[in-house]
Amino acid sequence: MIESTSIPLSAIRKPPLPNPADAPTEDIREQLYELEEAGELIVQRVPGPYIEVMTKYGRTKKIPEQMTWHHKSCGQCGHIPGYSTSIFWLNRQFGMNYVDPTDQTSCTAWNYYASATSNAVAQAAVASRNFAAAYETGYFPMIHCGTSYGHYKETRQEIVHHPELRRKVRDIMAKLNKPLVVPEEIVHYSEWIHAMRDRIAKKQVRDFSSITASIHPACHYYKLVTEDAIYDPDIYGGQRTATVTGIVEALGSTVGDYSTFFDCCGFGFRHILVQRDFSRSFATQRKIEIMKEEANPDVVITHDTGCVTTLDKSQFAARAHQRNVGVPVLSDAQYAALAMGAHPYRIVQLHWHATDYTALLEKMGIDWEKAWVEFEGDLKRLESGEIEYLSWEDADAK
């Protein structure tokens, strides 16, 4: 059992705003513009209107409001599809213009981090192909997966820093009749939610003020190319990444802090698929149990595929061993969608989640039994052939 070393949030002093001129890292965008000037690649600009946010060392990052090309996550779409559906639903609620492309592959980084059956050139070429596909549509990449986001930030650095790699990738792109394109900013959907949080809160129809949420920040969001993650002096004094915490606070919930905030979820890439003893133990003993002991949250909110999966699914086996678990796990997108009135099954698709979430829904004022009956009605219509698919209109029917 580890001892609590948690510092109360109120004790974190607000340091002066960081000065980008003192940043210990380079501003990769300046080098991208230089390479573009030299004819080496194309930089896709963030379309307006965009929202400016602050990153770790005080630099400004542009988050596009719309004209976004949604780079989906294979783990979200495959196993927790209410995650992706909620992201799209939020965009639709604001009338945002977006594309959900079929001309998109996974970043293939989950496989790479799990099995190493790839290499830097292939990884950069997969990234560039997706970037070029977005560029051809005129829409700007919005990355759903934290690993894709982190991996693409690394790939962007490699393309900038290694001319030989850049040449090889450009040659492959030429064989595909595509240009080498790099987006001006690599944008994660949770950054869009963070930037939109006040507007989301304005459309809130359910009261979340009695809910305590513990936050799990995704490793690949802020540990890979750390200077590109959003930090905010008003959130943790700018000492931790602000995404997720920002939206949870904006929705009026209490953030339940805990001492293993920086620990990963135990996903492990290969471990979650073929060595799950590690994932289960780490997720429950270093995260869920510590959260329960120190903050006793109603829910864990996170912002990546693997984190939702690992923290949620690992609790079943731990419960069989009488461990102190039993906290539902949602993404920030699902949490925000529920706050704005989304249906818990038609949109948030909670039936794909494992840990019991019914007490949480009751705290949100949602009659989950009635909602499930409504969803079962949809399933009957689908089964009978009355409808082939559940449409957005069906999903929002009152």
């Binding site: 989906k72 294979c74 783990g75 979200q76 779409c77 495959g78 196993h79 992706s84 799209f88 959900d100 079929t102 001309d103 998109q104 592959t105 996974s106 989950w110 496989n111 790479y112 099995s115 190493a116 059956t117 790839s118 290499n119 830097a120 292939a122 070429a125 997969v126 192909r129 596909a133 982190g150 650095q157 490699e158 030989e164 492959i172 064989k175 595909l176 890979l224 920086f262 620990d263 990963c264 135990g266 492990g268 890439f269 290969r270 471990h271 698929l273 590690f278 289960r280 780490f282 270093r286 699914k313 079943f316 086996a317 949109i347 039936h351 794909w352 494992a354 399933l379 559940l390 957005w392």
Partner: protein, 244 residues
């Protein structure tokens, strides 16, 4: 710094290295060649700047809490170019890393996790037996990602594959096709891939695999898997008029 000859203390007395198991049946030159391959990767210089031995990476590392594993030892062995120990790590340690990159907190700006990516890649490219073992049971995932462009398909949710995730897996698997049709985004009505990927997109992905030496890596790691993936790719590419 480069190593051109084996430091005598490593070969004469394997116990003098930190390695308890020095794979003495493998020639030093072969181990050195693998290490040189790691160093030749463009990313190597971005991942290692020496090591303070401070252990911050170990404190941050989830795998160090679970296994006999240390990112500090990985950085140390690389910084000292302890070829014997590196070879052992390449075989015995690297597959324990969970690639979370918590170790990027290193005050020396190292990335032990990044070094591990390179060590794994060289192990796979050279068909090391331990890499093949590590990839056993993983072939289906490699097949999925390389042939469909998406890794985690809904139909992977089978109760025998995830018994520890509880009875909901069976429920999902039993209702899969119906539940997928109950998803409003049109791209998600799939069961064999995470979302609908267009055929043109797959062709471009296959061309990337063929032009970036990935297929050679797969052949080293698993010959059978290589043949199956190649068959799928060839059929699609030939249908589209490409000569493979």
């Amino acid at each position: 710094m480069s190593v051109t000859a084996p430091p005598a203390r490593f070969t004469a007395d394997p116990g003098a290295t930190l390695s308890p198991h020095s794979y003495l049946d493998v020639a030093y030159e072969d181990k050195l060649a693998l290490w040189e391959e790691v160093k030749a990767d463009d990313r190597f210089a971005d991942y290692l700047y020496g090591c303070y031995e401070c252990g911050i990476c170990v404190a941050a590392c989830p795998s160090a809490k679970f296994y006999d594993f240390s990112p500090r030892k990985i950085a140390q062995a690389a910084a000292r170019e302890d070829v014997e120990l590196i070879y052992e790590q390449m075989n015995d340690d690297v597959w324990n890393c969970s690639q979370c990159f918590s170790c990027n907190r290193c005050p020396r700006e190292n990335s032990p996790g990044g070094l591990i990516t390179l060590l794994r890649e060289v192990a796979v490219r050279n068909g090391l037996g331990t890499a093949k073992e590590a990839l056993e049971g993983y072939g289906r995932v490699v097949y999925k990602i390389m042939t469909t462009g998406t890794q985690i398909s809904p139909d992977m949710l089978q109760p025998d594959a995830f018994p520890d995730w509880g009875p909901d897996v069976e429920k999902t698997s039993d209702n899969l096709e119906l539940w997928r049709r109950a998803l409003p985004p049109e791209t998600l009505h799939t069961t064999e891939m995470s979302w609908q990927v267009s055929n043109e997109t797959l062709i471009e992905l296959y061309l990337i695999w063929l032009h970036s030496d990935v297929m050679d890596m797969i052949a080293e790691a698993d010959e059978g898997l290589h043949m199956i993936i190649l068959d799928v790719m060839e059929e699609t590419l030939e249908d589209a008029g490409y000569e493979v």
